[in-house]
Assembly symmetry: D2
Homo-oligomer: 373 residues x 4
């Protein structure tokens, strides 16, 4: 079915910062790459002020704008509400959108606490609306391949997991306070740990227990950029945690936003009785697979790893970060039309947040208590 | 300036195959990523038959279509003619577009012979129209960084060059004949050699002499896919060539489309008196740079490598192949509005073709004659 | 001073298995590579029976042999007693050698329990004899370089540690019971964990607390090779542990002898406020160092990393595993002549064993208790 | 058979510099690692003066010394003459040793011209003595594995070869003249090209034609270290060459001793119809093998790659450069006792030298003539 005869799906976007722009571009590009059951059409953009919203609408190609996100949610032309506002607003926006019967596409983390995330999840499930949370790294075809190898028993019974998400954007003691360092919903374990925890769950299922140890490397930070006034930091810069999955598999993860020299080490090694898999987002188009004698093979992304073929016709051409967001949006559109749930919905995001809070609880206890999840 | 108030630039696209789709998607996405002086608008798509053209137009989002590319060129709403038709048609299409005063964006190779490419170049220069040829790999920010390091003398006086473009898509003796194996304009040295030659010229300037040696690994191929009838192959599967640049720098290249195990080894090592640079498109977001004691550094693509920052806000997020085409289209739009020439225009593509023909001539001579270019 | 005029140092070797052979070859080769203050001379070899000892002596170049290791220790020509016997014998042999005033060179682990290791340590310190334990991986010039960078503050204040020793030699459920699976002194955490713990201590100093989680992947193993009778396994196949160093630095390690696909991933990443260092024994001649802008540099082993220059005159030539043992033996000879202590002596090995036992204790507690060391 | 009851084989070593020391250490170590049919015993060392020879003998463990290499050759206790003297002396020394019926072990290059090498080869063959030339990089078990995969047709019919030996030791214009820059027997193509040419022949057999292009990057060098007087350089710093093997396989090589940033890039890629092999001496314990779907596998050196098992009992332990020399010496001892020829004997070294001279001839011709070998 050709693009122009497809049913239109109205998009309302809240927020026009980096992630808002990323959403807008993905909604623009997706129809040229995926043969979807509907055509996303940009309807309205909301942001904090009329001025910001107007500028965002013009830059990102929305015909209308508003400074009141409730107007956007109530707009009858809007079918999908995409939320890229600060984390603190996720709950009221999502609850309003759910109440209006809209599909809700929310950036991670779902909310600032697990309790809030649960409330949102229960509301969505009661209303029967489609939800999706933007764990974009899970959309990588090579990560999908890793999961399929595991599920198909290609590497045998799983015996261990070692994961990490390490970046360097908070290395400097002069990076100021922001939502990232807010005691409610902040810290490396929330900002980056959420990615490796969602990855671990995607690959190996629910996590049932954890012990964690955290460090706040820079104990104070400027109250705002360039300020000489510094305020204490109450969240972690780095957390190491032991894990046990419900399946009994054990392992560990690290979340670290002060990892000097590391830009995107969202990485894992999954070990099984017959094989093993290594991956790092630093080389997102490669999967290292061991499946018998002779060393790890470097598998390059290609058309045999869906939906890579929607982007490039042959192996050796690479996907980029923005392509992951396009894949995510394609899944969202498909689920919006078909109904049901997709990975990862609000409930999944709530489960991730429960693990984060268990790690925070364990790390805050000098006795290093084991926490059941 | 916001997207919706920019002057519109009408796009006419000839061809709706893989590369046509790639063009269409790039024209769609570019405005959300680059703040350009004009807004590309899809006007009309031409393809071999009305049926194909209609399907292409609907799928790729063009409001009109035609089976007669001359209609497209003559359409007053069309400002840029994008040519992704078979190589044999490049000359008549480009000449007609030039005659109509349109900007011409043509896929590589520019034409099937250097003589034809020269004719097209001279016509464009006489008419003063903007031209661009789709050497997309040159748009990679890491390749641009390599060139800037060279130009800035960061690795000193250049002393050597070693390049290669090796892929595996013709490995099987059962890949049939196609335009790729056409004695006019075919062979690995044309299909892949053009990329590494254009890369060498981009980095180090004009090439003045060459000796080459070629091999046709599979001497016959099926006349079409699945056919038991086989016809002789008259082009190379692999060429190795010695080079001398006008600057006096010497080196070698390889072009190989039967390189078992290789998917995109478009790679080079440039050596200078003070440093060296390594790159392979197999890891297109990395540049290995040596600049003094202590080993090669792995530089990851990031906002300090323009125009990466138009796509992603931080290092560690990656560009993909399709992003290179978007960068190319951005340069095209900028040049279309500003006038003048951009890298790589028709003349540049003609120079590449001259090098290819010199290599073919040398390789066809059992005495391995040195050929001046 | 030339080799032949140096004072002779008599070597008595207990054990002629793999590690005994490794010792013998290192004592043979060391004089040609290092200008040492004494010339090691092979005196006598002891093994379990006269037949084995005789065969070992002939193969390894010892003029005399014995089936009674006490004879070896009492031999007045023996200055250094090298112990490569099963772990269970380390204590009585070392105590006897200490009592006889000999220098003692013992393979790791020092003994089967920390209590036994402490007894040996106290005896050696009371007697004032030189001791050394064979933590050969610490002798790698690139590991030494890592330590020197840390000590010199080149990577700033240390903020995190992530270590691992993963191999695959116990992957198969049909690898039988042996000293490795003995509840006293066995398990992956002892066999491999000792290496990464000693490495962590070498790089960052004493460890003060730990939590650990362990898994026994194969719950039974054959009682001996090829047997159909299987007995329960009471030691770990894999342990993940959280660490805190006395300095306050936090991190984690993994020890795993069932790591399918891994042959020698004795690896670490040390992160500091100004830089970071990565190493894996899988590429033992390389150190990846980040020290500012521009990505990790791959430093190759060379003469600027002592004592590499004793082996090879230029960078690019590599050291091998056996060379590490030669470096260890060179340090042993130097300390034997000069007196005093060398890294790693009995006390250091005892400290490693204390950490291992703390991890075992934590892992055995389903509450995952934090253990102070 | 135990070491001490084996027949003794007397070693006479000419030269006590780096390579002499390397020989001496290999003769010392080999008996502890290989079960050879004879026991090498150091007899006498010769060097330029009595003083140097005496010092060398003491340091390297030879009981006797001489300043007259003819005395060494005539010594009846000497069975093997090892020549590590400057290249200019190889011919007279080898001819004298051959005349005396001794086994001759000569460092590469065999001599300064192909004509001289042929004379030496013919003399050795007429006398029926065992000869060996020190192409140590060919002794690497991973290179041997590469050859075995090729011979066993594991990667199918060979279709291409790309080789290189690039180092950086002549990068500085202040590295002075030496035997390396002697017009007779010097240049990068001799010093390093000999390694990659011998490697190419080892893997794929005789080379039948070549074209080459050379560059002298530094046109003058100091007459001796630190001198302000500079003399012209008449040899190449870098050569790129096209190759055709007798089998019809085509390819190219580079020899470069001014390759900034490169320490030991003795590397190759061999492509076949069913697979491909990559290797670089910079990671000498790894072979990258492609043999069907799924990317290159990283094979790590281990006991399944003889004679690795003579050095280390398990995969993951590494061989070093000096171990390659020990393997070479083991082959020498075996051939000395068994008679016959070993790879690479004088004739093989002569064949390598013929290829070098053909490349030099082609490169010196501004017409870039094709040279048959």
């Amino acid at each position: 079915m050709a693009m122009k005869f497809k049913p239109k799906i109205g998009i309302g976007l809240i927020g026009s910062g980096f992630m808002g722009r990323c959403h807008a571009n993905a909604f623009t590009a997706v129809s040229g790459l995926f043969d979807l059951p509907g055509l996303p059409v940009k309807i309205i953009l909301a942001d904090a002020t009329g001025e910001i919203a107007q500028k965002g609408a013009r830059t990102l190609g929305f015909p209308r704008f508003t400074s009141d996100w409730r107007v956007l949610i109530d707009d009858p032309a809007v079918d999908i509400v995409a939320i890229t506002a600060p984390n603190i607003y996720h709950e009221p926006m999502a609850l309003a959108a759910i109440a209006a019967g809209k599909t809700v596409y929310c950036e991670k983390p779902l909310s600032i606490t697990a309790a809030s995330a649960l409330k949102m999840t229960q509301a969505a499930e009661a209303a029967g609306v489609v939800t999706m949370v933007g764990f974009n790294f899970l959309r990588n075809p090579m990560v999908r391949m890793a999961r399929e190898l595991i599920v198909a028993n290609d590497i045998g019974k799983i015996t261990g997991f070692r994961g990490r998400h390490a970046e360097n954007y908070m290395c400097s003691p002069n990076v100021p306070h922001s939502f990232r360092t807010d005691p409610q919903g902040g810290g490396a374990i929330t900002d980056l740990g959420s990615h490796i925890i969602s990855m671990a769950r995607y690959l190996l299922g629910p996590i049932s227990r954890t012990n964690a140890i955290s460090e706040t490397i820079h104990r104070t930070r400027p109250v705002h950029l360039g300020s000489v006034d510094r305020a204490p930091v109450l969240v972690d810069d780095m957390t190491h945690a032991l894990l046990e999955f419900e399946s009994g598999v054990k392992g560990s993860i690290e979340a670290n936003w002060s990892a000097t020299g590391r830009t995107m080490d969202l990485s894992f090694e999954v070990t099984g009785t017959k094989g093993a898999i290594q991956f790092s987002q630093e080389r997102m188009n490669e999967l290292l697979v061991y499946s018998g004698l002779g060393g790890f093979r470097r598998i390059e992304a290609g058309p045999s790893h869906p939906p890579y073929g929607n982007f490039c016709p042959a192996v050796g051409h690479h996907l980029g970060f923005n392509d992951l967001k396009i894949i995510e949006v394609a899944q969202l559109i498909e689920t919006h039309v078909a109904g049901g749930t997709c990975f990862s919905d609000f409930r999944e995001a709530y489960e991730v947040q429960k693990v984060i809070e268990a790690m925070q609880l364990s790390a805050s206890d000098r006795e290093g208590a084991l926490i059941a999840i």
